[in-house]
């Protein structure tokens, strides 16, 4: 039996132990607090900031695109959207009824709105109407007191005043697709439209501007509590295209129903003054989401209206390639411009027979007549002597066989074959006959209309490696480097091109511009789509018009003007258009005449402030 004293002592001991235990626990808790708040304090501070701060982005105004004379090619048009916030509307159904009385809401739309309202948090606004016109908006705005929770917000729509004619130049805009995502958070904005083709795409980043950013504090369910800071962002840059919108429209219309491409260049600075591709499409269709029907029509059209044939289309250059062969021959000392060959209408190499387009032959021809009359045999002769590798090297200096580097998407590189190419591609030896065929721009050789225009520009601008461009920067580009062709060689070829259009036997003599000051030089081309077999040749070649469209020859033309002091270079490709002299040359003539009368190559020093202000005025509507 323990005494009360013993009991008390035992109590004291045990109470002390218990207290010690408590002390240890409190110390442990303090240590934990120290660990969380001091040792890992920074980490939790960051997590806390991440918790509460959201960055909101606002779509900046997309930059306007003008043509070289300040005419708008791409603008923005204000449009309006009606939003309803379920929380503020309280009774959503009643609110929709009231709104319906002012601007109709279809049953499906109503269903969608109610479904979204159920799915989202109550404070998230839902769009009820998009793209409303001013009258409808005015009515909604007038009724706002009776429409709690209804807001009108301003949005913007891309407008292309030139519509179809400028489609391949400016391209179009569309919503961000999965493959466009780069991690830039602005791309997640539902209202953002990005460039999908043409200049809209190649200069998208500049046009897009920088999104306004607001750092906002949000609570646990994402409601914005307050704005912490705001970065106003920057509107998209105003771009001045090198294109002359009226020449562009002229060229586009001139092609009419035919498919193909026309490119007009300023030979000095590479400004693309016109770049038409046919058929075309209306880029306005895309500005606010293209309808399925329209999209199906565009994407299943066998003539590929979305395809910019000026830079994406690849065609055998045919006789338009002959100047390159001539210059290569001169450069390598194979012939002088006086050296003549005899054309009997056929050129034999071993067992092979290579025909001239003219069945009876041209007789004795030197370089001038060979170009002017487009004698194939002459070019078989010199091509064989040059050899494919040297010929390819010359061709590449004229910008063929590689992308020109123009600021447009989807540019094709074309093809200039040589021995090593064939070895890699076909694991086969190069054949001499293939050199001859290449000498008249057939066989493996492929070029884009843009490359042909660049080639022509380089021949008549003193042999400078000008590169094409769609947008003018603030500063003039540096003088392009010299390609190293003696001016006498270039002059001989240019004279040949004049002969094409001026000589009595020139292949495009009907296409010469009558006015002396505006006269042009050029070269026609006809590129075979199908092979002409030996027996067919025996029986008599069928006329092109008798063939189904798909098998008809492409019609090509390259040219420059004016003769004395060239400023313009042109390339025309008309798909399945038959002979170049009959079709493409006439189009080239008309477009070059229009360019000269209009003075398309003039430059007045950028888009004026007036044009920009006018665009802003139009945007406000």
């Amino acid at each position: 039996m323990s005494t009360p004293q013993e009991d008390r002592r035992r109590f004291g001991r045990r109470a002390f132990l218990l207290a010690a235990g408590k002390g240890v626990l409190f110390a442990g808790l303090s240590a934990r607090m120290y660990q969380l708040q001091v040792i890992h304090g920074d980490k939790y501070e960051t997590l806390a900031e991440d918790n509460r701060i959201n960055v909101k982005y606002f779509v900046p105004r997309r930059g306007v695109i003008f043509d070289r004379f300040g005419r708008p090619l791409a603008e923005n048009k204000r449009s309006y959207r009606v939003l309803i916030t379920p929380e503020a509307a309280r009774d959503l159904n009643a609110a929709l009824d009231r709104l319906h009385a002012i601007v109709p809401i279809s049953l499906e739309e109503r269903e969608r709105i109610l479904w979204q309202a159920k799915r989202n948090a109550k404070f998230i606004p839902i769009a009820t109407h998009d793209q409303l016109d001013w009258d409808a908006i005015a009515r909604v705005a007038a009724h706002t007191p009776e429409l709690p929770g209804v807001d009108v917000v301003e949005t913007s729509r891309r407008v292309y005043p030139e519509a179809e004619s400028s489609a391949h130049v400016v391209g179009y805009v569309g919503p961000v697709a999965k493959e466009d995502l780069t991690g830039d958070p602005i791309l997640g904005l539902p209202d953002l439209r990005i460039g999908k083709g043409g200049v809209e795409r190649s200069h998208d980043l500049a046009l897009r501007g920088r999104a306004a950013e607001a750092k906002v504090e949000v609570n646990a369910i994402g409601r914005v509590v307050r704005e912490l800071e705001r970065d106003p962002g920057a509107v998209g840059a105003v771009l001045t295209s090198t294109v002359d919108a009226e020449l562009q429209r002229f060229a586009q219309n001139r092609m009419g129903e035919q498919t193909g491409a026309v490119v007009v260049l300023n030979i000095r600075d590479g400004d693309v003054l016109a770049m038409a591709s046919s058929p075309t499409y209306d880029p306005n269709l895309f500005s606010h989401g293209i309808t399925d029907e329209d999209w199906r029509a565009l994407s299943t059209n066998p003539l590929a209206p979305m395809n910019n044939k000026a830079v994406s289309g690849q065609y055998a250059p045919g006789s338009t390639f002959k100047m390159v062969v001539a210059l290569s021959a001169l450069e390598h000392g194979i012939v002088s411009s006086k050296k003549a060959f005899f054309c009997s209408g056929v050129h034999k190499v071993g067992k092979g027979q290579f025909h001239c387009w003219r069945r009876g032959g041209h007789g004795w021809v030197a370089m001038h007549d060979a170009i002017a009359q487009s004698c194939d045999v002459y070019f078989y002769e010199i091509a064989r002597k040059i050899g494919i590798n040297r010929l390819a090297e010359t061709a590449r200096r004229f910008g063929l066989g590689a992308p020109t580097g123009i600021d447009l998407p989807t540019e094709s590189s074309g093809l200039i074959p040589d021995k090593s190419w064939k070895k890699t591609r076909f694991k086969d030896q190069w054949q001499l006959g293939e050199t001859l065929i290449a000498g008249i721009g057939q066989g493996f050789v492929l070029t884009t209309p843009m490359q042909l225009a660049v080639m022509t520009a380089r021949m008549v601008n003193g042999g400078r490696a000008v590169t094409p461009r769609m947008v003018r920067g603030d500063a003039d580009p540096p003088t392009p480097p010299d390609l190293g062709f003696p001016s006498s060689h270039l002059a001989a070829v240019a004279r040949g091109m004049r002969g094409v259009m001026s000589d009595s036997l020139g292949t495009a003599r009907e296409a010469q511009i009558p006015s002396r000051a505006l006269r042009m030089g050029g070269k026609t081309g006809t590129s075979q789509v199908r092979r002409i077999t030996r027996e067919e040749r025996h029986k008599g070649v069928r006329k092109n018009e008798d063939l189904p469209r798909k098998e008809r020859d492409h019609s090509l033309f390259v040219g420059y003007a004016p003769l004395n002091a060239p400023r313009y270079a042109i390339a025309v490709v008309i798909e399945h258009g038959g002979s170049g002299s009959k079709n493409a040359a006439l189009i080239g003539r008309d477009v070059l005449l229009e360019a000269q009368t209009r003075g398309s190559a003039e430059w007045h020093g950028g888009t004026g402030q007036n044009a920009i202000e006018a665009a802003i005025k139009r945007e406000r509507g």
């Binding site: 009991d7 409190f26 304090g41």
Partner: protein, 388 residues
């Protein structure tokens, strides 16, 4: 001290005869005013935190918190001056009443979810809270009556364990894991202080370890989830682990001196759940930092130390056990709550005394402190039936 007739050893426990009250001035002097002051200081900090939790407003929590504390303070003093012998005689009655209320809640409150309270109009009474003090009182009386060596005897230890186990099982069924743990731990602490042999605790620990899987099988799914998420909160960061993770983020982001009163971002932006009840310490840590947290812990330590002092000064076994029972219960509240919000214990729903918003828990602890004051006032009464 008054003497009492005879020295007949009673066969069964009989109530102590009333003791003539001592001089009122002496009694007032015996009250541990530092204890009252400390508790009030903690309650004031609580009101300040609830003001912040209310978004810088006395409504809905801070004002009522203050009023409740004031009412409770009166009850506390009444209990303090009410005479230890009276509370001794009411100990079993109180336990019985609380037990019946618990059963009532179990039967009547069989509605949806966890029902733990009886709606009294002015407040919602949670019998499980009151039981924490009622158990301490009943155990203290039982172990007082059994004498210094009685605690080890089976006819005392048996009923004592029953006193602990019966309500613990009931609250576990509610289900309220936190209260069950608190009841058991508090009860065992009293048994320990009463002198139960060491080896018996050894056996108990072994048994507990052995029965852990069985207890696990009895737990509700959500209780298991809590334990599992406690062990690894990232397991379910948006579900059950969310509270723990957000609590640690809010507390940790407070740093040494906090973001300032009313400036806590996480709690005010509702990332922090239950910021006015179970997670109020997190908010305190966020706004007042490590310094504020340590200060509050120090106040609690001071409060518990004062209760220890009362226990050591008491002449009666009942007084000593009652005071330390109250002190230990208070400690358990604090320790479990703070561990919980710092991710050291599962989220079991134990409030922080005098700071968390909640009527019954505060009332319970004020009753506890009132009883401790009674021990202080009547410290020189050995509470024996007779004295030779």
């Amino acid at each position: 001290m008054q003497r009492w007739r005879g020295s007949i050893a009673a066969a069964r426990p009989t109530p102590l005869p009333p003791l003539r009250p001592a001089n009122m001035a002496t009694r007032i002097a015996c009250v541990d005013w530092l204890l009252v002051l400390t508790a009030s200081a903690i309650a004031a900090i609580g009101a300040a935190m609830l003001y912040s939790a209310g978004g810088g407003s006395a409504t809905p929590w801070a004002g009522r918190h203050g009023v409740r504390y004031a009412v409770g303070l009166v009850i506390m003093l009444v209990l303090g001056f009410g005479g230890l012998r009276r509370w001794y005689s009411l100990a079993y009655l109180g336990y019985g009443a609380c037990f019946l209320l618990l059963v009532f809640v179990e039967v009547a409150g069989s509605g949806a979810g966890a029902t733990r309270w009886i709606d009294l109009g002015v407040m919602r009474l949670q019998p499980s809270e009151l039981m924490k003090i009622a158990l301490v009182m009943a155990l203290a009386r039982l172990l007082h009556e059994s004498g210094p060596d009685g605690a080890d005897r089976l006819h005392v230890l048996g009923p004592a364990l029953l006193l602990i186990a019966a309500p613990a099982m009931l609250v576990l069924k509610q289900p309220d894991l936190g209260t069950a743990v608190l009841l058991c731990a508090g009860g065992v602490a009293i048994l320990f202080l009463a002198g139960v042999a060491w080896w018996k605790f050894g056996i108990a620990v072994a048994l507990a370890a052995g029965s852990a899987p069985i207890i696990w099988s009895f737990l509700h799914d959500y209780q298991r989830a809590r334990v599992l998420t406690f062990m690894e909160p990232e397991r379910d960061p948006l579900g059950a682990g969310y509270h723990i993770i957000q609590s640690m983020i809010a507390l940790g982001s407070g740093g040494i001196f906090g973001k300032g009163w009313l400036q806590g971002t996480q709690s005010h932006l509702s990332f922090l759940p239950e910021k006015h009840t179970d997670f109020v310490f997190t908010m305190l840590g966020e706004e007042l930092g490590l310094a504020g947290g340590l200060f509050v812990l120090a106040l609690f330590a001071l409060l518990i130390a004062r209760i220890y002092r009362i226990a050591f000064l008491s002449e009666s076994r009942f007084g000593r056990l009652l005071a330390l029972g109250v002190g230990t219960t208070l400690f358990l509240y604090v320790a479990i709550n703070v561990s919980m919000v710092m991710g050291l214990a599962p989220v079991v729903g134990v409030p922080l005394p005098f700071i968390s918003y909640g009527g019954t828990a505060m009332l319970t602890l004020q009753i506890g402190l009132g009883l401790a004051l009674a021990v202080a006032v009547d410290r020189s009464d050995p509470m024996e039936k007779s004295r030779c």
